[in-house]
Point group: C2
Chain length 142, copies 2
């Protein structure tokens, strides 16, 4: 196993729960934050991390998650605006070295890049995957 | 350019419009179907395909799109249920050789596989991309 890292995941939807379950199973220390405690039901019984119910836009919640100690911060709620906001707080206030955010709208990626936040766009990844199946070796751009 | 194909795209959201614009620019014949004609504003001015306003679950709409002549059919609305339904109709009624659908919920992928429909899961693609950045060479599963 690679060196254990401390990872904060904001948003426990499908993506957040897959990441949290996987990272926990790999021996990483994981804290998951979600406003809706019912979303934690997506975590596997083997999940050994922490769950925090709350709004990650509030610094108090990120403090409770010990975000200042995090090696890595994933902003993966369903809302681009929230992801951008919490990723920015994690980067600038809590100085997390590695901050990644999901962004649905490819047009917003530049805003993240300007803030030195890495982004994952499900839309562009999907477009590329569709084109790869149709006709390998083409590169798609937004 | 590769051989021009006839491609039906259901859903003109972010993914559908990126695919339609790209495929049209590559010289393919593209028909885009969406229930909301405002969504066609995402198509570029260079888009040379056809737009059909309507519910693709209705066979009449798919007939109007000449789905029986299609080489390829993309079901990329925002709803897994709709994607599964129209993909199934394209495969079974209109005998489209290549049918691909977007599916958000990884748990539903088996239903598609049972129907011989290829799926693209933005959730799994994103999870893999996050993990690749964190720690290259791990494979994630739902």
């Amino acid at each position: 196993m690679a060196k254990s890292q401390y990872i904060v995941v904001v948003g426990c939807g499908q993506l957040g729960s897959i990441l949290a379950n996987h990272l926990s199973s790999e021996g990483h220390s994981v804290v998951v934050i979600d406003q809706n405690e019912h979303h934690f039901s997506k975590l596997s019984t083997a999940f050994s991390g922490f769950r925090i119910v709350g709004d990650a836009v509030e610094s108090a919640i990120l403090k409770r998650a010990k975000t200042d100690k995090a090696d890595c911060f994933f902003a993966v709620t369903d809302q681009d605006n929230i992801n951008l906001m919490v990723a920015q707080i994690a980067k600038e206030i809590f100085q997390v070295p590695k901050v990644l955010a999901r962004v649905y709208d490819p047009a917003r990626e530049q805003s993240y890049r300007d803030l030195d936040i890495s982004t994952i766009s499900p839309t562009l990844l999907s477009a590329q995957a569709f084109l790869d199946i149709l006709q390998p070796s083409q590169v798609v751009q937004a």
